[in-house]
Amino acid sequence: MASRRTLNLLFTLHSWAGLVTGLLLFIVCFSGAVVVFKNEIDRWANPSLGRLPTVAQPVSLDTVLASVQQRHPQAEVETLQLPDALNPAYLVFARLQPADAASRTKLAVRADTGELLGPVDSQLGQFLRSLHVFLFFGPRWIVGFLGVAMLVLIATGIVIHRKILAELFTQRWGRSLRVVMSDLHKSAGIWGLAFHLLIAFTGAWLGLAPVFERAAEYLTAPSAAVPKKPAKAALQASAPPPATLQPLLLSAQQAVPGLLPRFASLQRWGRPGATVRFTGAIDGSLYSTALVQIDVASGRVIQVLDPRRGGFWTRFNGLMEPLHFGDFGGLGLKTLYFLLGMTPAFLSLTGTLIWLDGRRQRRAGRADAPALAATAP
């Protein structure tokens, strides 16, 4: 049993960590619960796409690319999103003015005819996702650090509130705000404990993995003061011949059997050194981070990431995103994630209300003290 000193320490840590991060955690957890339905929200907010038919054999990637380039010859196509069960159209992310990053537009192309429909109605799902992952403006590391803070809150909370079974079923209504909120805080925390641990850990991993990777790269690089400039690719005298995407997609599917490609990202398309990266899930597997990068000119596969064949950490990393977003089990699992995802937000709220009420009580006590002293015999 933890000593009183330890409990005091943990309670102080729990209170301060919760107070400092409470509002941000509430925003991140609430938006995260909503973003579970990102694809459905996008479908709902784009009525012009809702009427399109779902086709079993969509047109080729090259047809889509040609359709975009015919309407926008100057545009630089960055990514193509392939149709799926919920989204019947190809979605193309292109910079309509290559030099202007703000001109990056999401365009829709019919999957049955390859006809370019034009800009989509909205990107509401991605908007909500950017609130959850980036808080609109920042890198994902901020939310990653919040995930670590959430783990600290869970760990300290477990030790503090260690009468697990009693607190699971304790809810005293009709009492003071502090008692009611405290009971709700404890029971919600215990009921959702496993989910909270999962979300906090996977969220911290997804947010901080780039930080750790870059830090490790920097520390293990041979010379850090002046970085070596990468050798420039040899330039050809004339422009390379037009490349085709569809054969490259087939190569990718051969490199990773069972690949369900979701995105095709084009780098330096139409220029020397062009590559294309296919990313997506693997049929019949939980992993959603399969990747194949192909050199366009030669058709050579440069990089393959198949979590099934990777080491422990590759497989571990491949599980983080599906476990965090819960998009592997259909609508039922998403609904469960939504409901459970609201509980960390509820904990932030009740914890803050408990602190505010305690602060009010202390101030009232200081105000009452002179009156009590005056009336003392």
Binding site: N8, L9, F11, S15, L23, F26, I27, F30, E40, W44, A45, N46, P47, G50, R51, A102, R104, K106, P119, V120, S122, Q123, L124, F127, L128, S130, L131, F136, G138, P139, W141, V148, I160, H161, R162, G174, R175, S176, L177, V179, V180, V211, R214, Y218, A221, A224, S348, L349, L353, L356, G358, R359, R360, Q361, R362, R363, A364, G365, A367, A371
Partner: protein, 310 residues
């Protein structure tokens, strides 16, 4: 009607729960904005920033309005839940009127959630949470005297010195973030990444645990200083070295605190240890099970059994 103690809350104390309460209505309002964006602005297909700023502005305005309208805890939350229910109903109505995709599931979901919000709003009341007993308003503070104003500066300086560790941790985090995200070219980016990790995983635990484990805190502070010095040497940048320097007196102060505590424990023979006393003061400030707050709660909630929250 007697004023409840909630009326004694400062506006800031009403604003904080209002900020929580306004998040959901603001997000739903942003969804409605996506259905009917104002003409003349950058189209939504380019994911423009004006939408984000609009959501933030709406959130802050809603929070301000709720904090002004809901002078009691219950009324603030009833207003917020009612507003959320109305916005969700509006989303459902817009879905049907505009013939949007996934109309059935969307209407059921929004309608169901709106009913839940209304039910929650109805549940909030004295049958769930007992209102605080009325207390007289405390006398307003008089105008600050010159000596009191001078005391403000002294108190501020004392605060900065006492919490120097947290301020240093914040400075390290901000500078590392600037190098990693805003400068964002090597070697600054790598230095920034390492700096953030040092600040969050080494220095922050050090300053947090210093009242209880001053020796461990000193060791971690020195580790952070050594790490930053190494980064400065490796990268040739000045800022890690500048941040490492003040960590040395911080570690010295933590070690001094540890020696003082150990000496007091050896000579005191039962006198309370300094970091236990300080930790008790922290616990008194925040522990909702402590006797003082328990006594106050008993005055307003006489039937309350002793707290078993810990």
């Amino acid at each position: 009607m007697k004023p409840s103690a909630s009326a004694n809350l400062s506006w800031g104390e009403r604003l904080l729960p209002a900020l929580f309460a306004a998040v959901a209505p603001a997000v739903v309002a942003a969804a409605l904005l996506h259905l009917a964006p104002p003409p003349g602005l950058t189209p939504l297909s380019q994911r423009p920033m004006w939408v984000a700023w609009t959501l933030i502005g709406v959130w802050l305005m809603l929070a301000t309005a709720l904090s002004l309208a809901g002078r009691q805890d219950a009324s603030l939350w009833r207003w917020a839940l009612g507003l959320l229910a109305a916005l969700l109903a509006l989303v459902a109505l817009a879905t049907v009127m505009a013939g949007l995709p996934l109309a059935g599931p969307m209407v059921m979901a929004c309608g169901g959630l709106a009913l839940c919000m209304l039910g929650l709003a109805r549940c909030i009341g004295p049958q769930r949470v007992r209102a605080e007993r009325a207390r007289p308003e405390p006398a307003p503070p008089g105008p600050a005297q010159p000596l009191q104003r001078a005391g403000v500066w002294r108190r501020t300086a004392r605060h900065l010195v006492r919490h120097a560790g947290f301020w240093l941790c914040g400075a390290l985090t901000v500078e590392s973030f600037r190098l990693a995200h805003i400068v964002a070219v090597d070697p600054q980016r790598g230095v920034g990444m390492v700096g953030m990790l040092l600040g969050f995983f080494v220095l922050l635990p050090a300053v947090s645990l210093a009242p209880w484990f001053p020796r461990v805190a000193a060791l971690l502070s020195l580790t952070t200083a050594a790490g930053l010095a190494g980064l400065a040497w490796r990268s040739g940048l000045a800022s890690p070295a500048l941040l490492a320097l003040p960590l040395l007196p911080l570690a010295a102060q933590q070690l001094r605190s540890s020696w003082r505590t150990a000496r007091a424990a050896r000579s005191g023979d039962g006198a309370p240890r300094a970091h236990d006393g300080r930790s008790d003061r922290h616990a008194h400030a925040h522990n909702d099970t402590h006797t003082r707050t328990h006594t106050h709660s008993a005055q307003s909630d006489r039937s309350m059994a002793p707290e078993t929250s810990r």
